[in-house]
């Protein structure tokens, strides 16, 4: 939307005045104001899915909570990025994610470098009130270089989006629905057999948890090269 990109609007983020182009989102505005809004599905340079709902904020005059990642700023908007209610909801969402699959950090390649783990610590999630589901999902070791551990996946769909819009390979998608949703390669083929995969590894670097990792990494060893991937994705997004 080039014509909207030029016009600037003024909004308040937790009382602080921010000026930015109208095409920007509340999440971007908060970043400019130096305010932290948690998110797990947003990835700079990728179209937002609005999937994790951690970034919901309060906007004065709007009864509903709005997701910061997909709500464009509007002139005069006043945003509250944190409140007791928001904090409680965000903690509940994290607890639900932790209960959904298996997030035992002690045995995870991403331990110490995991966005889910970091966020849980940051938002003070000390325990999970919901029963753990532990669904015993498959671990796909068929790819020569990478591993997919469904048990660590939080269905943020960053892998799906980066593969489609940056690499253009469309290896990944999500199958089934509801609680049975799972990331799949091609026709639910073993990743190593997926004819569309270029082996670029962008999905691995986009993944916020230990669901996608490089082979041969031991516990705590998997470090994602996020910064480089963001640069590539941003460049691609600008061109598009």
């Amino acid at each position: 939307m080039p014509e909207a990109g030029q016009k600037k609007v003024s909004i308040r983020i937790d009382g602080e005045l921010v000026q930015l182009p109208a095409s920007h989102t509340i999440l971007q505005a908060a970043a400019m104001a130096g305010r932290f809004i948690p998110t797990l599905c947003h990835f700079d340079g990728l179209a937002d899915a609005g999937a994790c709902r951690l970034c919901v904020v309060e906007v004065s005059g709007v009864a509903r909570l709005l997701p910061a990642c997909t709500t464009p700023v509007q002139e005069g908007m006043s945003v509250v990025t944190d409140s007791p209610k928001l904090a409680a909801y965000r903690r509940m969402i994290l607890e639900l994610l932790l209960a959904e699959r298996n997030h035992v950090c002690a045995v995870c390649v991403s331990n110490g470098h995991c966005e889910l783990q970091n966020l849980a610590a940051q938002l003070g999630v000390a325990s999970v009130r919901y029963p753990y589901r532990y669904p015993k999902l498959p671990v796909d070791l068929s790819h020569p270089r990478f591993v997919l551990d469904q048990n660590r996946c939080i269905l943020c769909s960053r892998c799906v989006r980066v593969c489609a819009s940056v690499e253009g390979a469309h290896v990944w998608n999500v199958m089934s629905r509801g609680i049975h949703s799972m990331v799949v390669a091609d026709l639910n083929d073993p990743w190593g057999d997926a004819s569309s995969c270029t082996g670029c590894g962008k999905c691995v670097n986009a993944c916020p948890t230990g669901a996608l990792s490089e082979k041969g990494q031991a516990v705590e060893e998997m470090m994602k090269n996020t910064a480089q991937l963001v640069t590539i994705a941003m460049r691609k997004a600008v061109r598009a």
């Binding site: 290896v171 999500v174 199958m175 609680i179 390669a185 026709l187 639910n188 083929d189």
Partner: protein, 179 residues
């Protein structure tokens, strides 16, 4: 067992049909759903096999993962061969309040079908008997609420069902086929 040439001939026939369907639907809104619906309806056991899906993907230029995502998302699509007869039990609200769960349980017992390990799925299911005679499935709502509880036997709606009437209808289904 099909011979290699037999299969090739069959594939060729199938491919010609898929080509025709794609030609008719491609480029229009809802094309992919329509193509998959037509192809599934055309196959003998009313399901979508991987070979057909790969062919559709290649012909329409659709990513495989997108096709799989669609097939696995919509209740209408089957990834497994279906039984000779399909019995669909309506699980709409009116049917539920008039005892459709009992009908479902009864048929499952009669057919010896057990739910998969994940109990939460138990009420939303498509199960086929080992001999491929019957497929038992649930439908969200047929919109026949005034006839509740409703069961559809091979596309024929039967209203005001009870366990005995259902057993009778199922028996009739088998005998009809025989005669």
């Amino acid at each position: 067992m099909l011979t290699t040439t037999g299969r090739a001939a069959q594939d060729a026939g199938e491919h010609a049909f898929i080509d025709e369907v794609i030609a008719r639907r491609a480029g229009r809104p809802g094309a992919l759903l329509g193509i998959l619906e037509d192809v599934q309806e055309h196959t003998p056991h009313k399901y979508l096999c991987s070979d057909d899906l790969r062919y559709i993907a290649a012909r329409t230029g659709t990513p495989l993962s997108q096709i799989f995502s669609v097939v696995a998302f919509y209740a209408l699509f089957n990834r497994e061969p279906q039984g000779e007869h399909t019995i669909a039990i309506c699980r709409g609200t009116a049917c539920h309040t008039r005892g459709s769960r009992n009908l479902l349980e009864k048929l499952r017992l009669d057919f010896g079908l057990t739910a998969d390990a994940d109990g939460a799925q138990a009420d939303k299911l498509t199960l086929t008997t080992r001999d491929r005679k019957f497929t038992l499935r649930t439908v969200a709502c047929f919109g026949q609420c005034a006839l509740a509880p409703v069961v559809e036997l091979d596309h024929r709606i039967c209203g005001h069902m009870n366990e005995q009437a259902l057993a009778r209808e199922v028996k009739a289904l088998v005998e009809e086929k025989r005669s």
